[in-house]
């Protein structure tokens, strides 16, 4: 589904990505882990076309999206939920979701019923100002907003950040359910090992702008020293 090869990208002054190779298979949930400042968020931004790529290639379903403008990458089927969620705080919940629909012709701008099955709260509170939502609710809204665009691949940046544990668990369950029911491929940057072990099929660790190690989730379950090696500060 996603293939990243030899990706180099700069973010500000420093060279943040130094030759990233990563692939995500169709229907899989892949976790991208590593300490802070290792380039995880920059990698997602680079895939999305939000940081300039120096060298290397990004391909979605075999089609190169390298150098495309961000909106076009989105139209190629990549959904993005950034760190800090970045919902439109002054918009209503419904308006936030409708922004995700604007890419379609007018007649097709209907929020799919499944979205409200996964996130019933968003229907109940559709007229509420999104900025008044709690962190967890905003996260659900941000995920739903990406999903109404019917992506094939979803990039999630730290969905558990600043959210209370019970909601993190709920979000993890919903993601797993969506993945199983729709076959949505997910690449998720996450520090929360509990969440990852609940949902991920495979895992890659970043270190200093490169993928240092990649393996199936079972391998980590057997040998937790892998986590300590790449995650402990």
């Amino acid at each position: 589904m996603l293939r990243v090869q030899g990706l180099e990208a700069s973010y500000g002054e420093s060279l943040a990505l130094q030759g990233v190779d990563l692939s995500v298979e169709i229907g899989e949930i892949k976790a991208l882990m590593g300490r802070n400042g290792m380039g995880k968020s920059t990698l997602l931004k680079a895939i999305m076309g939000l940081v300039k790529i120096r060298r290397g290639e990004v391909a979605v379903e075999g089609r190169s999206v390298t150098g495309m403008p961000t909106f076009q990458i989105a139209l190629e089927g990549v959904g993005y939920v950034p760190q800090g969620r970045e919902i439109f705080a002054s918009f209503s919940v419904l308006e936030n979701l409708r922004v995700g629909l604007l890419r379609f012709p007018r007649a097709e701008r209907v929020i799919p019923k499944e979205i409200y099955d996964y996130f019933p709260l968003l229907k109940e509170r559709e007229n509420q100002r999104a900025g008044s939502f709690s962190g967890g609710q905003q996260q659900m809204l941000a995920i739903a907003r990406a999903l109404v665009g019917r992506p094939k691949l979803l990039l999630l940046d730290e969905p558990s950040e600043g959210i209370q544990p019970s909601i993190v668990e709920e979000i993890a369950e919903i993601l797993k359910k969506i993945n199983q029911e729709t076959g949505l491929t997910i690449l998720v940057v996450e520090q929360n090992i509990n969440m990852i072990s609940d949902i991920a099929d495979s895992c890659a660790f970043m270190e200093k702008g490169r993928i240092a190690y990649a393996c199936a989730m079972e391998e980590i379950m057997r040998d937790e020293s892998i986590i300590t090696r790449y995650m402990s500060v």
Binding site: L50, F71, A74, F91, L102, R103
Partner: protein, 285 residues
Amino acid sequence: MSAAVQILNGLNYILVLILVAMGLVIIFGLMNVINMAHGEFFLLGAYTVVLTSKMGLGFWVGFIFAPILVGLLGAILEAVLVRRLYHRILDTILATWGVSIVIKQGIILTFGPEGLMVKPPMPEMVTFAGISYPSYRLFIMGVALFVIAATFYLFLKTDFGLGARAVIANPNMAASLGINTRRMYLTTFSLGSAIAGLAGATMAPLMSCDPHMGLGFFIPAFLAILVGGASSLGGILVGGGVIGGAQNAISSVYSPVVAQIVVFSLAIIIIRMRPEGILGRKARD
């Protein structure tokens, strides 16, 4: 002149000022570009009418063509110049200022530096509630109100407006959701320009058209935005009302010069007390 006529004239000025300010603030809000050529777009709108009158096509042809022509010009300016300068506020100010000089000098070369008059398209007076008032001025107010309302509707009620507001709030996020921000910038710049062109065309028969008339609307429009706050469309209504109202009231009682001094001082005081404008919020989300 009776007080009622004064008030109507003041209202007239305020509404046109809001039109000019609205084009300016749409462009600023969406792209963070301060279009210094906005006054010259107004000028071009007025001279479109001058030209069609001269050619014998009459006022109304110019009135229809002015927003189309100026809107097109705005689109071209965005595509060849402004687009290359995003995120460089100072450079866009310089570049669009340069464009304003070119337009102004172009007008001088073509039409000469002197003031030109346009034959009033609707010379009749209308009598109502005991006062007699030029029908054309009522027409202007109608047009201005309509365009202001239509712009509000466009930005607050339509899907286009939803996309535009998303881009204003967070351009990267909007693009990540599949919105073509480039095209949005082009459309909006063109739309803001067209409104300025329309404002110029409507005002042409009321004033002597000379190459500096754009500045006479650009500066108060700019003040209106600063005073009202650039973060919301509603701010312009307040800013336009305060600046236009003060300007008009004081010029009719004292003189336009006194009015300018007072309005500038007023603007400075308001901006000093409320740097984000009367309706402005501290920061955008």
